[in-house]
């Protein structure tokens, strides 16, 4: 299972690719001939055809209310239309919600729903359906991973069939961004009731494609949704997803024509893509990052100077060249270049001298020892060994311990580790990339980090509407976090996707999700 936290553990030279993408300021895409983040549309779209899609792991569940795996979102984005959508530059735009208002100091959101939309089973999409989904997710007995997204909701109301009023216990500036994800993907209540706990095998949404068949580890088939509210779309008759867990094999499948598009490309093959006129690709900065988590409650990393020494001793540029073939961007904060919260000036230098000075301050002039847990795939082990050799130069003895992902996640959550190599797939709003990670007791705060100033800054940023003001709060918080080093941010991971020239109207998005409503086969 590939979870949002796993994908960025570089585990995959390709898995990272699944991670997400970013366009924004640092995109570089190309083909042998054309250079577009999407395939150039040179003629009128043609209806029909089957698109074969290679994905780097199999889906886990097709129920957005119960999904925590990153890969599931590749299916959801085409089966379910989110209430709000993301633009190619990660801006929130209307979709099933046509417009919205925010009142009472940011604690009341009113969403106005699109009229005439139907679920793929023919039942109407309306405010009752939205509230039914959210109430189900907010019921602790259902153990939905969406519960944390809705934890601030105190009341839901539907004054009329096309209006949903959300009352929050505190302002939450990331709410609209949350509604572009799985929490904003609404299932047919009729289908949820019909299938019960087996709904994850029979999803029904309002998206451009309806679910037909899923044979695990083999393929999943979607077909055009004839009830789709955007007239004339989608163009494709069918999409067939094939999970291909070996990164080299996924790329081979594209080269041999067995699939038309792949969700990630091994880093070592990116350069050869640029000279291959029979393939198209896009290479963008991602929303996510790879990082080390340092347990601030366990010796020796409970000493901030030991943590800072690690920060200075790692040569991020060298790691980028060695592991990512130069396709990543060195990371120092949780906010990638694909988001508006990115600030290129927040960095620390690579300096063995500074690292050694920190070791002296820590009272360990000759270094110290600790263990790094990481996933037991070759790419992650290679990354851990590269870090190990960097740290050895300043006398820090890091033991590498590869484990399987479930063990890694369980140990990280329970604080049963000194440091680990995990990543984060990233989200469009900076709150989603920082609040749960950095605030005291946050649900992603594996390092058990606690700093009242960071808590206060991130809370203020969450409750502020102005993006410019929020940016200042995030800059301040990111600077503190960087220097206190509960995390060692390593690289912002790129999204690299490739397709055959017959695929038209496909555009690579910063979140890495492959949207096929406008795609057609030439």
């Amino acid at each position: 299972m590939v979870n949002s936290r796993q994908a960025l553990s570089i585990g995959a030279v390709t898995l990272m690719g699944v991670a997400l993408a970013g366009c924004g300021t640092s995109s570089a895409q190309g083909t042998g001939a054309a250079t577009h983040s999407g395939s150039a549309v040179t003629a009128a779209p043609v209806r029909g055809g089957t698109l074969n899609v290679g994905i780097d792991s199999d889906f886990v569940t097709l129920d957005p209310a119960m999904s925590s795996a990153l890969i599931d979102r590749q299916a959801f984005i085409n089966i379910f239309d989110p209430l709000l959508k993301l633009s190619p530059t990660m801006q929130v735009e209307p979709n099933l919600v046509t417009h919205w208002t925010v009142a009472n100091g940011g604690t009341t959101y009113t969403l106005f729903l699109r009229h005439g939309v139907k679920f793929q089973d023919g039942t109407p999409f309306n405010a009752q359906a939205v509230i039914y989904n959210w109430q189900w997710e907010m019921n602790p007995a259902n153990a939905s991973p969406r519960l944390s997204d809705l934890s601030l909701v105190t009341h839901l109301a539907a004054p009329n069939p096309y209006e949903v009023v959300i009352t929050l216990k505190a302002p939450y500036s990331a709410l609209l961004s949350v509604l572009t994800g799985r929490t904003g993907m609404i299932s047919s209540p009729a289908a949820m009731k019909k299938w019960g706990s087996a709904y994850g095998l029979h999803p029904v949404g309002t998206g451009p494609f309806k679910f037909v068949q899923w044979i695990k580890n083999d393929h999943m088939i979607l077909e055009r949704n004839p009830l789709y509210w955007k007239k004339g779309q989608p163009y494709l008759n069918k999409i067939v997803y094939t999970p291909i867990t070996n990164p080299v094999q996924e790329y081979n499948a594209l080269v041999t024509g067995q699939v038309n598009v792949i969700d990630s490309v091994p880093y070592q093959d990116v350069n050869s893509l640029s000279s291959n006129s029979s393939l198209r690709y896009a290479h963008n900065a991602g929303l996510g990052y790879a990082d080390m988590e340092l347990n601030t409650q366990a010796a020796p990393l409970n000493n901030v100077h030991n943590r800072e020494a690690i920060d200075y001793a790692i040569n991020r540029q060298a790691l980028n060249q060695l592991l990512y073939f130069g396709h990543a961007i060195p990371a120092y904060t949780q906010f990638s270049p694909a988001t508006w919260a990115y600030d290129p000036h927040i960095t620390v230098p690579f300096s063995d001298a500074l690292a050694k000075a920190q070791l002296v301050k820590a009272g360990n002039p000759h270094g110290f020892s600790f263990t790094l847990l990481g996933e037991n795939d070759p790419a992650t082990v290679q990354e851990m060994e590269a870090i190990q050799s960097e740290l050895a130069k300043v006398g820090i003895n890091m033991k590498v311990e590869p484990v399987d992902f479930t063990t890694l996640l369980t140990d990280a959550i329970n604080g049963n580790y000194q440091s680990d190599l995990l990543g984060w797939s990233g989200r469009p709003d900076p709150d989603q990339n920082s609040y749960a990670f950095d605030t005291t007791g946050g649900s992603f705060n594996d390092p058990r980090y606690s700093n009242s100033q960071v808590d206060s800054l991130l809370l203020k940023a969450r409750e502020t509407v102005s993006q410019a003001v929020r940016k200042q709060y995030y800059d301040e918080a990111a600077t503190i976090v960087l220097h206190q080093a509960p995390y060692i941010f390593l690289e912002y991971t790129p999204v690299i996707q490739a397709w055959s020239p017959t695929v038209q109207g496909f555009q690579v998005y910063p979140d890495g999700l492959m949207r096929f409503s406008k795609t057609w086969i030439k």
Binding site: N3, V60, A143, T407
Partner: protein, 314 residues
């Protein structure tokens, strides 16, 4: 003979029980909670606990084991923790893929090993024998994941003769099915063929020096008949033993081969169940595979009697 078969089948029960104890213990001793992989890291402790209760994981491991054994005794393998699908239906969906792969791999390995072993034994210490020996060494030494990628690179990416991965059911297209299996079957068959051919060579050389072979030759029987009818049949008993033992190794190889070629078989089912800590799927699949290995060995025992009429079971 019938008594022998019944007795052997009955011995499957304690063996299966031991397999169950080992599998169940190992996976439960491995750290990691499936609730985290299902719910993700942001799940509240309450949600994790609720799911643990729902999955029956809050009971002591011994209690869980007794409950599971009780279910298995009634022929129920349970349901997947991830999506509630019946474990038996998951196994039955994937079994045809693995079965076809394994049967074809054994047949291809025999098709390579028998002529190679016979030729090497018939002309020992000649260039034919040396060539056969070198190829067998390579076949046994090359890791199958490397061989798989090499074959894909040459025959799929380079020459475009064969698909690089995937699976088409026999019911959908026989040629399509076979074309997709060529590379995986070769990957599985070569190491088997290497071992089998070496065993056959050794046995056949030994047999060909026995007195009854000299008698056969003295009677003026053609060399072909001497080797094929008199020599080979007697040399096959140990070969069958080796092939039977290799069924277990083959199921291990299937795990890797299915993953590389994206074949939806038992191997992928087991690998994913391990990573996801999907205990019922893992226990059920391993139990099922253990049965297959035990049955294969039973068939090997029965084949002895067919090959050598002096062997009698009672």
């Amino acid at each position: 003979m019938l008594t022998f078969i019944v007795r052997r089948i009955l011995t499957l029960i304690p063996v299966a029980f031991i397999v169950l104890v080992v599998t169940f213990s190992l996976i439960h001793l491995t750290p990691g909670n499936p609730a985290y992989t299902i719910l993700g890291e942001q799940a509240s402790p309450q949600a994790v606990h609720l799911l643990d209760v729902k999955m029956g994981l809050t009971q002591p491991v011994a209690g869980q084991f007794i409950h599971y054994v009780g279910q298995v005794a009634q022929g129920r393998l349970g349901v997947s923790l991830l999506d509630g699908q019946s474990v038996m239906s998951l196994i039955l969906t994937r079994l045809p893929v693995t079965l076809e792969l394994a049967v074809l791999a054994v047949l291809l390995s025999l098709a390579i090993a028998l002529p190679a072993g016979i030729l090497a034994a018939y002309r020992p210490n000649t260039w034919v024998d040396s060539l056969s020996r070198v190829l067998a060494l390579i076949g046994a030494a090359v890791p199958n994941f490397w061989l798989a990628l090499l074959l894909v690179y040459v025959f799929a990416v380079g020459l475009h003769w064969l698909p690089s991965l995937g699976w088409i059911p026999l019911s959908q297209s026989v040629p399509g099915n076979l074309v997709h299996l060529v590379l995986p079957v070769i990957v599985l068959a070569l190491p088997l063929a290497a071992v089998t051919s070496r065993v056959l060579r050794g046995e056949l050389i030994e047999v060909m020096h026995l007195l009854y072979i000299q008698v056969a030759r003295a009677k003026g029987i053609s060399e072909w008949t001497v080797v094929m009818r008199h020599g080979l049949r007697n040399a096959l008993v140990p070969v069958v033993t080796v092939v039977g033992l290799q069924i277990g190794a083959l199921l291990g190889g299937v795990v890797i081969t299915e993953t590389i070629f994206s074949l939806p078989g038992m191997g992928q089912l087991v690998v994913n169940a391990i990573f996801d800590r999907d205990y019922p799927v893992l226990d059920g699949s391993v139990l099922f595979m253990a049965f297959v290995v035990l049955l294969a060995n039973l068939c090997v025992d029965l084949a002895y009697a067919w090959l050598d009429p002096r062997i009698r079971y009672s």
